[in-house]
Structures are given as C-alpha cells and as structure tokens.
Symmetry: C2
Subunit: 88 residues, 2 copies
C-alpha cells in the first residue's frame, strides 16, 4: 500500500464525505454528485484520487459507473494510523 497516496486521499474533506456516503451504499458518480455543489468534473477528479489510493472500487453498469467502498483496505488504513502512535 502506498502510504502517502492514502494519506493524501484522506486529507480532503470532499473525499472523506464521499467515503462516508459510500459507507451506507454503493452509488453511481451521478448519485454522489447530487450530494455536492461542485462540478461533476471536479468530483471525477476526486474519484480518481480515491481509486488510486484503492479506497474505492468501480463497476460499470451500462452508462453508469458504480462506486463502492473498498472495505478490504480498512485493515491497512487502520494499522497505518495505529502505527503513527504505537508499535514499531
């Protein structure tokens, strides 16, 4: 896991809000966009950063692209954080 990429991805409030939304349910890019006041192109930029960090996964459904939280990375992120304060 690319530590720096993950931390950078989490450092933006819009991206954290996206993750928060996806926690409840997977959503298309457009559905997510309805929750924000910024241009869809700007959100797409955030999506790509979240994907780079492997925090979200995508799946195409027709015209739509469905974003979902990548729960399998949770353990890694948790241990990243834990490592900041304790352990090695």
């Amino acid at each position: 896991m690319q530590q720096q990429i993950v931390f950078k991805a989490l450092s933006d409030p819009t991206r954290r809000r996206i993750l928060h939304l996806l926690k409840r349910q997977s959503m298309s890019a457009g559905d997510i966009a309805e929750h924000f006041d910024i241009a869809k192109a700007s959100l797409s930029h955030h999506f790509s950063i979240l994907k780079q960090a492997d925090l979200v996964r995508t799946e195409r459904q027709g015209q739509r692209i469905i974003y979902s939280l990548n729960l399998s990375v949770f353990e890694d992120v948790a241990s990243l954080m834990f490592d900041l304060f304790s352990g090695s």
Copy 2:
C-alpha cells in the same frame, strides 16, 4: 477535535516522520532537525502544524523546546479513522 486540521497534519510525510521519531522519545527541535535535510525554519513550520492539530505538546527547557507526542489524542484519531469505514 478539528478533524480537517488533524488529517491535513497527517498528510505530509515529513510530519509523519516527526511523529514517528517522537514515538520513541521526546526530543528538542534541534534534535529532531538532525534527522532531516531541510532547514530548521521549515521544520518549525511543521511543528506548528502538528501543534495546531494537538498531535504534539511542547515544554521549554532552557533554550530548548522539547516536543513530545500527545498520546491522549490517539483515541480520537483512531476513531476518526474507524469512522471512515464503519459505524455511523
């Protein structure tokens, strides 16, 4: 706790290295500086960001200022992270 300030503070690799150093032992600004190749003034800037986020505490000892990890904030940071993926 100011969530955004904490995430921003953690998003820089130099600052995470500082935290990592302080995990082992508290150190003066100068001692910390010996581990880095950047100007002391630049490090001082990082210190101030870590302090704002309440991730480190300071104590003056004569001319020196001793930095130490603020462990009491660990629980808060952990739950911040946890909250990104599960729970509410």
